[in-house]
Subunit: 311 residues, 2 copies
């Protein structure tokens, strides 16, 4: 499925570069390779899964629940394929996210977090208008789409002479983490995926340590909002449990420092949740001569970037 | 020479991506393609010319005058090829630039702007230690190296379906501008290069308008310091005069706004001098359905980026 997804994405998704900087290598004490998914269409890897699901399933229209990167990926993939997209967002979502999603061509339906049931709204829209739900991570076509990032990592790491290393991946529901892990199992078995998460929202690290699925106690209050989810999925967790190494957990301050260093040394813009894997590579003890990190997204507002740069 | 340079750079320089955003297209009223040279090694296109000159001439060591992007490009190309690099910088250069150049493996020789002659210091070093001077723009091997960016633009524009468009290039001494113009003359004659400069330092635009080489009245006081030079070179000016369209001149405020939009929409970090071409594409009237811009560099300090983001 990942190979089929790669064929569908060819010429439509960007093959994002694998970046590095000698000054980051010095800081980490080893080579640090950074897969810059912030440069993907709509600013995060999410376009991959959205494009693959839409072109594989060929729906007459799609619906998604998201106020963030998944919404933008689905909206733009739908626009490019000429089908309608309805994005269901909480009425208190930041104005800029609502505007951006509309600017990418989607219809935004707002709901009241307190009084309305998101799933019921989505199901009603899907029935009434013949829309297909594109889930943010727990859907085979989405996982396969994200897995194309893993195929590229296998090739780019080999080109860089790296055949044995850990691959740190910013992890929310685990769609990207599991997709990359499946791709690397087949193509680069010397590369081992490890999920990276922020402190307080480290359900996947705890799940791996416990050998059983754990949840987050809370779902708000993190600057790493892009990768905060209740828990990994019914599809993604078994893949992560089978293939991934121990989780890496960083503080919000470390994520902000990694954003500033990515600005200085790589010339890329990362959001806090997209910087946790780089933070783990730079600030936590790591094994080996080289470490690969996936910089998953760059949809950060100006004030948060200014905060990272002044820290 | 550009084709030979491309062979030398293959596997050593990055093939930088051509980025775009539907939201920037909407703002400009046409497609805007952005060649992201800020993602090149050392954060600017300068690595191309430095690498080509060093691998073509095979010197036993190199010397360069620069406090900026050229210094970093030469330092890192020398380090990778295992030869010594001496960078001659004014003693009052910002500490961070001196430190960065040293961190890339170069020896930094400081001189007193008021009392010492830079050229005499360089000539003495070159003689005494057998070093070869790598000029920042007016040197055939450097122009050919920068021209490899033009070969990539020709291919990437064709892949994007753009065969007739203006190519706005941030222009200082004209090494990149002339190199790209030569490459496009041969490979994509429907693409016309136009130099982009900041107000008050628009010598190349005035030269093109006058049909004769003009100089800048002053050489300091611009936030676009990376592209401020006295005038175009003896080699670069005739190429620019023969091949380039009229210059585009933007304000510092427009450059800062383009930096912020590149942050928001493309997830790349640009320095003011690296953003003037994008600023021209977004804020000045342009012809045609599409415009290509070269985002030449991203070596900006955190305070300047914070200023751009708060504007």
């Amino acid at each position: 499925m990942i190979e089929a997804a790669a064929a569908r994405l060819d010429g439509h998704a960007r093959r994002t570069p694998m970046l590095s900087s000698p000054l980051l290598d010095d800081l980490a004490g080893r080579r640090v390779l950074v897969k810059a998914e912030c440069l993907q269409h709509t600013g995060s890897f999410k376009f991959r899964g959205a494009w693959n699901a839409i072109t594989a399933l060929r729906p007459q229209g799609v619906v998604a629940f998201s106020s963030g990167n998944h919404a933008q990926g689905v909206a733009w993939a739908a626009r490019l394929t000429g089908i309608p997209a309805v994005i269901v967002m909480p009425a208190d979502a930041p104005r800029v996210k609502i505007d951006n999603t509309r600017a990418l061509g989607a219809e935004v339906v707002l709901y009241d977090r307190a009084g309305e049931d998101r799933d019921a709204i989505g199901a009603r829209l899907a029935r009434a208008r013949g829309l297909t739900l594109i889930k943010p991570f727990d859907m085979a076509e989405v996982i396969a789409g994200q897995g194309t990032c893993g195929l590229e990592i296998a090739e780019q790491a080999a080109q860089a002479g790296v055949t044995a290393a850990d691959v740190l991946v910013c992890c929310g529901g685990g769609g990207l983490t599991s997709g990359i892990a499946l791709a690397l199992e087949a193509r680069a078995p010397g590369l081992r995926v490890r999920p990276a998460e922020p402190e307080g929202f480290d359900d996947v690290a705890r799940s791996l340590a416990a050998g059983a699925l754990q949840s987050n106690a809370r779902l708000s209050g993190s600057i790493c909002d892009a990768i905060v989810t209740p828990q990994a999925g019914a599809l993604t967790w078994p893949i992560i449990a089978r293939l991934c190494g121990p989780g890496a957990v960083v503080s919000e301050d470390q994520a902000l420092k990694a954003m500033a260093l990515a600005h200085d040394r790589l010339k890329i813009v990362l959001e806090p949740g997209g910087a946790v894997a780089l933070a783990a590579a730079l600030f936590l003890p790591q094994p080996g001569d080289a470490v690969i990190t996936v910089a998953t997204g760059g949809n950060v507002d100006r004030a948060m970037m200014a905060r990272a740069l002044s820290a």
